[in-house]
């Protein structure tokens, strides 16, 4: 993958998250008086909120994955772990793969649970 594509994905995904936050905040700010359970349910059960929440979650996970991949490829490498301990250096690549795999699995579970809560 090209570096510019990853760079763009990270920036645009943060913009999507920002737009979603503005969308939810505007509901909270513009609702007259205290927000009742009925108002809250009506807002979150509307198709557009469900759709925006799903999109925002997908982009949030994408954004987080890029960030964690960057951290992993900075700190979980043969060189960086080698500064701490030479034996750690030998298993650095395995550790990084496990770390990314664990996050991908967690991300998939997170997404499935969120989509289940939102749509079913």
């Amino acid at each position: 993958m090209k570096g510019s594509m990853i760079w763009n994905l990270q920036r645009y995904s943060s913009l999507v998250i920002l737009v979603y936050l503005v969308y939810v905040s505007s509901f909270i700010i513009t609702t007259q008086g205290p927000i009742s359970f009925f108002d809250w349910t009506k807002f979150f059960l509307s198709f557009q909120t469900r759709f925006f929440t799903s999109i925002a979650c997908i982009f949030m996970l994408l954004h987080a994955y890029i960030g964690l991949w960057t951290v992993g490829t900075d700190y979980l490498t043969e060189r960086t772990l080698g500064f701490l301990n030479k034996s750690l250096s030998k298993i650095a690549n395995l550790m990084r793969k496990m770390y990314l795999f664990a996050f991908v699995m967690l991300g998939i579970v997170y997404l499935v649970v969120i989509l289940y809560i939102i749509w079913i």
Binding site: K2, I6, T73, T80
Partner: protein, 246 residues
């Protein structure tokens, strides 16, 4: 000006004798006047002949004596001790992130490998004119702030991204030079140069923390050059090349 005595804490490591590096404290008589850190090292060398460091031009041109002075990278020969001294103490360490050969002497192989990677020479396969390839004053102006780099490695070795990935991230010094050739109207390999930098590590590991700008002893701005490279990578390459030719 500095009190009667000056305390210098110096990073010492001789792989033939020492198992681990250590900091050795030296006390020297206060200098009569403000001197450069390199002069201070000469005074130390008179005390202890085994102290090792690189130096050559002693006027900030060769870039040999880059080192970490009281926590900030700089050239010893153009850094007055008055500008770095803290409570009569100075701490001198080698450039961070590079393997230490001995004391303040580091192995620059990884740094030069990245410099080599960006092909730091003019690439133009058209027939050379009789005298020289001409540039307009405007085209020449684009190279100011780029060609002055002396490759002292102060910027690259102050960059955490270069510490962690010196084999993949090109580093601020080499990227400044990469942009020097991308901005040169006489160079015709813009597309190839951009292709070579388009992976996720070479340029995009720069997160713009500006350490490079903060330490550059020549007052250059590698971060700006990296930003320009990123802009070029984001734009349509054919457009850039077409505008180069106009």
């Amino acid at each position: 000006m500095f009190g009667k005595k000056l305390q210098v804490s110096l990073y010492r490591y001789n792989p033939e004798e020492d198992k681990f590096p250590y900091m050795k404290k030296y006390t020297i008589d206060k200098p009569e006047r403000d001197i450069m850190v390199l002069d201070l090292l000469h005074l130390l060398k008179e005390q202890d002949q085994s102290v090792s460091y690189r130096r050559s031009c002693r006027e900030g041109v060769c870039g040999s004596d880059g080192m970490n002075i009281n926590g900030k990278n700089g050239l010893a020969c153009i850094t007055p001790i008055s500008s770095v001294i803290k409570r009569n103490k100075i701490e001198l360490r080698p450039l961070p992130g590079l393997p230490v050969i001995r004391d303040l002497v580091v192995d620059m192989t990884e740094f030069y490998a990245q410099y080599e990677k960006i092909k730091p020479f003019l690439q133009n396969e058209t027939t050379a004119p009789e005298q020289e390839r001409l540039q307009s004053p405007e085209e020449r102006d684009k190279l100011d702030g780029l060609y002055e780099c002396i490759l002292c490695a102060c910027c690259s070795t102050s960059c955490p991204s270069f510490w962690w990935n010196p084999d993949k991230f090109v580093g601020p010094a080499a990227l400044l030079q990469a942009y020097r050739f991308l901005a040169d109207s006489r160079d015709l390999k813009t597309e190839e140069r951009l292709d070579a930098l388009s992976d996720p590590f070479s340029v995009y590991r720069c997160h713009g923390i500006m350490n490079c700008v903060n330490v550059c002893p020549k007052g250059l701005n590698p971060n700006k050059a990296i930003g320009e490279i990123k802009s070029m990578l984001h734009k349509n390459k054919k457009d850039i090349i077409a505008s180069d030719r106009i």
